[in-house]
């Protein structure tokens, strides 16, 4: 019984692993093909089944009409994601701390309503805001600019930061803030001197989620930018035309997903330490 169970378990783990890995392996293999190798049907192993070529990878860094510019979209994506994440984290951490420690009242609006307002932004389908964002950014001349995208991404990431941090601060005993104030801190000083230095775990977790959702967004980048400020996903999708250079596409895709795939290692560590559970209750 236990033996069969273990065999079945490992077979399932193996099966799912193959399912997970296959697209990456396929992309890796394809990225070393040329037009000939691609159009002659599905092949997998270089040298054995097809003659590898580096033209896919070379095209990413080549200049001129034959090359695909990968550096600019990569830097654009990194700039927008990092800037929006940092701003969201700063604002979100402050707000989450306020909501976890103070009572707010404005008419019938209470803390729980404000928290819901922040978090409920995740329910908002992007399309609902896309058109007014488009018109709004056009109005202020921020269409197709880094600044415009950062503004929009803050709306996207701020709810995530608030959500993770509220739960995190809930796990820090109030007595710690109180002790800081008894020991001579102002309420704001207590936050910066005592709470913030002890919030690394929460901030890292929130930061990772901001990076993941920011880096992986396509829709807003697609609608609100054209050629001047192209982000990575948009640049890749624009390659997805009828005459598809699969080799460049695959190489490009691998480069764009690798940085965040590495984040998985960090996420796993936090998860195994039990630092994530509180954030999802």
């Amino acid at each position: 019984m236990t033996r069969t169970y273990h065999t079945v378990k490992y077979l399932c783990l193996l099966g799912w692993s193959i399912f997970v890995v296959f697209p990456f392996l396929w992309a890796l293999s394809t990225s070393f093909k040329d037009a000939n190798a691609v159009t002659s049907g599905a092949t997998y192993i270089p040298w054995l089944e097809f003659e590898p070529s580096t033209q896919g990878w070379a095209s990413l860094f080549a200049s001129g009409s034959r090359g695909i510019n990968i550096v600019t979209p990569f830097l654009n994506s990194a700039t927008v994601t990092v800037l929006a994440s940092i701003i969201s984290l700063m604002l979100g951490t402050l707000a989450a701390y306020g909501l976890s420690r103070y009572q707010y009242r404005a008419g019938f609006v209470k803390n729980s309503d404000i928290t819901f307002f922040f978090i409920s932004q995740r329910i908002m389908p992007p399309i609902v805001l896309a058109i007014p964002f488009f018109l709004m950014l056009k109005e202020i001349g921020a269409l197709d600019t880094i600044a415009g995208l950062v503004i929009v991404y803050i709306a996207l990431l701020l709810p995530i930061a608030v959500w993770v941090m509220i739960d995190f601060f809930g796990s820090i005993p109030r007595e710690l803030d109180e002790m800081a104030m008894i020991d001579g801190c102002t309420p704001i000083g207590a936050f910066f001197r005592v709470i913030l230095p002890n919030s690394a775990t929460g901030i890292v977790v929130a930061g990772m989620f901001c990076l993941i959702f920011g880096w992986n967004d396509f829709f807003f980048a697609f609608i609100l930018t054209f050629t001047k400020t192209q982000l990575l996903p948009v640049a890749i999708v624009s390659l997805n035309s009828s005459v598809t250079p699969w080799w460049s596409l695959s190489a490009f895709a691998l480069i764009s997903v690798t940085p965040l795939a590495l984040v998985a290692v960090v996420v796993e560590r936090f998860m195994s330490r039990g630092s994530l559970a509180g954030a999802f209750r």
């Binding site: 800081a180 008894i182 005592v194 002890n198």
Partner: protein, 350 residues
């Protein structure tokens, strides 16, 4: 002098109800009460963590309520071990001094002295998480006494420690608290022995009110009300219904209590309080053992008497089996009498 006038709080769970009291510098006040009596609430209100709804708090004539927490020059030790996790032990203790704009070197030197007093010399570079519970509480204590605060509040500081550490730290407290001797110390606890041992003056709280204040021994000998008698006695005092009829004290089953040494002038129903040490084995009261438990080197026996239930304290460790009969003697001179409203009506003849 710290002065409370008709202090009330809006807290819905344990509201304080019109407290008035005076506290003098240089004294240790122990606040005794059960869980939920309002001890923590009183301390939190004093230090400004919880709002007041009515009344006033004055320290040497100046109003405390309008003073921000950080300017109150008070210190607090919590029941939980609260230290700053990101600072090492030395900087934890130096933290309040640094907030008072003391130079880094001076603050650290003073912190070092305070750590030596609480017995943590050599632990300066550890993080709080690397210490045992008892050591963490010592750090918190060092941080409280290093400030030489005008008021030091201690909220059941031993409650979360295991028995051995609790005894050890409690014995050291008089010496440790001497460091803060020029201030007012308020120390809350649920344990009568702790309150008696440490307090220059004892305050008994019950359901959000101060029900007694005074010399610990005097309060113990002659509690003003049945509530105070209950809170102050450990093992618990037993209360039995009875009455005074024709100058004799009778239990509810009609048996006489043989009230030697008591003046029984007024007839009527009374509550008879029997201290655990008023009962001894060997006598003419027929009892049944309900339960026996050990506390330190004593045995506490819960008895069913003909006129009610009572607790007896027996020196040494003895086996008592539930259900077994036992003959009991009652020392009438150790009885306390309370009226049906709870007021102490004990009158000694001598």
């Amino acid at each position: 002098m710290l002065k409370l006038e008709n202090l009330s709080t809006p807290d819905p769970k344990v509201p304080l109800k019109s407290l008035s009291a005076n506290f003098e510098a240089g004294k240790i006040y122990t606040i005794l009460g059960r869980t939920g009596a309002g001890k923590t609430e009183l301390l939190r209100t004093l230090i400004g963590l919880d709002p007041i709804s009515e009344g006033a708090i004055h320290l040497d004539g100046s109003d405390l309520v309008s003073t921000p927490i950080r300017a109150r020059e008070m210190a607090m030790v919590y029941q939980q071990f609260i230290n700053y996790p990101h600072l090492d032990v030395l900087d934890n203790v130096a933290f309040p001094l640094r907030r008072k704009k003391l130079g880094k070197a001076l603050a650290r030197a003073k912190a070092r002295d305070a750590l030596a007093i609480v017995g943590l010399a050599g632990f300066e570079t550890r993080l709080p998480s690397e210490l045992s519970g008892g050591q963490q509480q010592r750090v918190a204590l060092a941080r409280a006494i290093v400030k030489h605060a005008r008021i030091l509040l201690m909220d059941e500081p031993l409650a979360n420690l295991d028995y051995k550490l609790r005894e050890q730290l409690r014995e050291e407290f008089p010496r440790l608290l001497h460091e803060n001797a020029e201030g007012i110390i308020l120390y809350s606890t649920t344990e009568p022995a702790e309150a008696m041992q440490l307090g220059d003056e004892l305050i008994v709280m019950h359901e959000g009110r101060i029900v007694a204040q005074g010399d610990p021994a005097a309060l113990f000998d002659s509690p003003p009300s049945v509530d105070v008698a209950r809170v102050i006695s450990d093992p618990p005092i037993s209360i039995c219904a009875g009455e005074i009829r024709d100058g004799a004290l009778l239990f509810s089953d009609g048996s006489g209590a043989g009230a030697t040494g008591l003046t029984l002038s007024k007839d009527g129903p009374v509550q008879i309080a029997i201290r655990p040490d008023a009962l001894t084995i060997g006598g003419d009261i027929f009892a049944t053992v309900k339960l026996a438990e050990f506390s330190g080197s004593d045995t506490i026996v819960h008895l069913q008497l003909p006129f009610g239930e009572a607790v007896m304290l027996v020196d040494g460790i003895h086996e008592f089996h539930p259900g077994n009969p036992l003959d009991i003697m009652l020392d009438p001179t150790a009885l306390l009498l309370f009226s049906h409203t709870g007021a102490n009506i004990t009158e000694r003849t001598d």
